[in-house]
Amino acid sequence: MTRLFAAVAVMAVLATGCQAAANELHPGREELKAATRGPLGQVIVDDEGHTVYLFEKDDEPDESYCHDACASVWPPLTTSGTPVVEAPLDRSKVTLLERGGGLMQVVYDGHPLYYYQGDTDPKDTNGQEKDQFGAEWYTLHPSGQKAEAESDEGGGSDAS
């Protein structure tokens, strides 16, 4: 019994001390901007510089096809209000998609946006061109088009 309590205490301490990437539970008012990511050029990132992605399976702006395990690996970018948008992004291209539990996911130019758990550094683009959960994932240019590296050396760096 003592061991169980010790395990609970350790996990509770670790859990409270390690709040990181996934923002969807307690989103603030999100901010979108552009940043240069090597051969991908300018791509959309959040206010902390974390790269965001589109999911090619999401073919409509009012529906996300990423749930359960997919949403655990690719946390949706959620916001508590209309996101602040910096140039050269187009504010008129931003809409919101309601997910369960009252969470609002940010949609840009018809693409629901997601983080990638494999990005540990804000400048990472490890999710680029990953083929996971039934379709490929891409970063986005400020125009809303998916970003693709001009050479094969660009994009993701970890193995999927």
């Binding site: 061991r3 996990m11 509770a12 670790l14 859990a15 390690c18 990181a20 997919c70 758990q117 999927s160």
Partner: protein, 155 residues
């Protein structure tokens, strides 16, 4: 006449108790292995390997689950008569810890990770962990060393 306390080892329990203990131990062992295998499947099958901390923990879960399960299934070594009981306690702590970790990640974040929903893999793992806790607890109760009074002739 002199009354002394004698330890009653697992092998000396009644046949029915020994049978229940063996079944409970095997069921608990298999449940622990199932838990580990489900975590390995999530590690490779749905890309949990990319998640910082959580990915490696899923791999550790697989290793621990299988190791504890094999320890419980293995024949009892003569030099370590308490091995099964130690493994059973470890299995209960392991299963409970896994459930607690899931509960934290479902209701908040664990190492920054939030788990979404209760898909079939999670349900299977939860059932296996519950079965492991119940069966291994039963094993510990049934196979516990009993201090029974024994009558020995005093010299």
């Amino acid at each position: 006449m002199k009354v002394v306390e004698a330890m009653r080892p697992e092998s000396a329990t009644t046949p029915s108790h020994a049978g229940v203990a063996t079944v409970a131990r095997y069921v608990g062992a298999l449940a622990l292995i199932v838990t580990g295998v489900v975590h390995l499947q999530q590690y490779y099958g749905v890309y949990y390997r990319v998640i910082p901390m959580i990915g490696p923990l899923f791999l550790v879960n697989f290793v621990l689950g299988v190791a504890l399960g094999v320890a419980l299934l293995a024949p009892l070594p003569h030099r370590a008569p308490e091995l099964h009981r130690v493994a059973a306690i470890g299995g209960i702590v392991f299963a409970a810890g896994t459930i607690i970790g899931l509960a934290i990640s479902e209701n908040g974040t664990l190492f920054g990770f939030h788990e979404h929903g209760y898909r079939s893999a999670i349900v299977i793992s939860l059932v296996a962990e519950a079965v492991a806790i119940v069966s291994l607890t039963a094993y510990l109760i049934v196979s516990r060393p009993l201090h029974t009074p024994a009558v020995a002739a005093a010299s």
